[in-house]
Symmetry: C2
Subunit: 307 residues, 2 copies
């Protein structure tokens, strides 16, 4: 089985949507990526940090999905990263109510020895220096390095972000972030500019409007599944990235044609994530549900025009 | 050859976008629908009205595309419908600067005798009573009636609009209009509610975010082609509808599977429309360009996951 190394936050989230609010629940980019990737046939490990306030049941949940957590540092006396946010009525935008970095502030990632030869590396949202440090520790060049980031690092750590972006094959960001990073409004132009910063593949996530994959002059598009209700968008982008990286890891094929499939798998998994609060839906999800919905994606997008 | 009957405005538009502005140029729903449908193998006629200020060269243009204009009334001493609008910087929204109904105010549509047995009827945006009157004049039940409308009629003539909607098979409206008509925010719920108003097929146009086709529990999605620049969105929705109706007319197949193809053809043609001001691009477009871009649509959307 191929190995997927996942870096990103493991966190507490408190979420408000028009449909309700949660107390502190399990969250974090690496959590969503790990859960999503666990639907594929692979070995995975998470590199991250939590405090000793982090419940054993959450650690057990990760382990039960065959995720190696030997690289998940538990800081004695430390408090876990906490994020709290409130979504607007259309669920397309949100306000951050609180961010407590806690143990993340001094985090020095340590890649487990067994994963220094990982096939695929998924650098989830975290400080670009942490993302770089993980790449520095690899003993073999991964077949593919995927990076996810957000506007926060463009505002606060742009030089470091640009350094790590140079070193990755695929970048996944949302449409507004692509515009901010490139200075271009047109997403086609934005992707072209981001190509020149390093990544050969640029994935632009548009939330309910789907996702675009750019590679030189080639483009692929996957819609989001039209849903009756979107309950909570938290983690959808990470779940998408986890599905993308998970499928690539399982299939050992980094061609553009196969990345199209990976984008569909990512969109498929993300369509479940938004149906309940936080990780709730992903935790209960069966592989049979995932396959059934993949059929819906085919019928949603495939047509038969002779050319 | 099958017959397509087109109803809608034939007009003068004056357009401002961030890229420039036009004087009075050729516009109107029926104009865009007719030009777009002319890329298919069919006979078509436009039912509409203009004043005698309408230039002969515009009439000649329609005729040169094999569009029958015997149902396009020219009112002596009358002035042609005029619309003027300014697009915002993102081109997703616009302000109407001026609307002069002129000859449209008293328009009584007359369907040419030869087209009273049309196979497909495309009711482009116009007063719902005009749309109804055209249906009343048909001597044979068309295989498919497609209706396009806009929020203006929902505000000003809702009872008349609901009457004509009952009589059509397909409705095409944009996302905001679908929400207004149904009172539902979720487009899935909106489409379900609009089904109960009459149309078996509901097409929701999302501009740069593509288009959805709903039929009971089935959904199909076509993206808009990602473009480096969108120059002027005027007429894109009508061009889409014209491509949809034109392909259905040519293919004589009103199954859901074939409507998927029609949605793709509509999206493909609309992708050209937005590249220049008004009808400029559609007038110069070659069939070979249309076919070439259809290949781009395939590679943009088609994937190969075994299920």
């Amino acid at each position: 089985m191929n190995k997927l190394l996942i870096v990103g936050t493991v966190a507490f989230d408190a979420i408000e949507t028009p449909f309700g609010k949660t107390d502190k629940i399990l969250g974090g980019a690496a959590t969503y990526i790990g859960l999503s990737a666990s639907f594929f046939n692979l070995q995975s490990a998470i590199v991250s940090v939590v405090g000793d306030d982090f419940p054993q049941e959450y650690l057990d949940l990760l382990t039960s999905r065959n995720i190696d957590i030997s690289g998940l540092e538990v800081v004695k006396g430390g408090k876990t990263f906490f994020w709290s946010g409130r979504y607007h009525n259309d669920l397309n935008s949100r306000d951050t109510l609180d961010t407590q970095l806690n143990v993340l502030a001094d985090f020095q990632p340590k890649v487990p020895q067994d994963y220094k030869n990982s096939d695929i590396v998924m650098l989830g949202n975290l400080h670009p220096l942490v993302q770089s440090s993980v790449l520095d520790q690899m003993e073999k060049q991964p077949k593919l390095v995927v990076l996810d980031t957000m506007n926060f690092w463009m505002d606060c750590a742009l030089p470091e972000l640009l350094e790590v972006i140079k070193r990755v094959d695929v970048i996944t960001i949302n449409d507004e972030e692509a515009r901010q990073l490139s200075g271009e409004y047109s997403l086609v132009k934005a992707a072209a500019k981001i190509h020149t910063m390093g990544p050969k593949y640029v994935v632009i996530k548009k939330g309910e409007h789907g996702a675009l994959l750019f590679h030189n002059k080639d483009v692929f598009f996957a819609p989001a599944l039209p849903l009756e209700e979107v309950f909570d968008p938290t983690g959808a982008g990470d779940t998408f990235a986890g599905g993308f990286a998970g499928y690539i890891t399982q299939s050992e094929n980094i061609s553009f044609e196969n990345m199209k499939n990976a984008i569909i798998h990512g969109s498929n998994l993300a369509s479940f994530c938004v149906e309940k609060f936080g990780t709730e839906k992903m935790v209960d999800l069966e592989k049979s549900d995932v396959s059934a919905r993949l059929k819906q994606f085919k019928s949603l997008t495939q047509f038969d025009i002779e050319l």
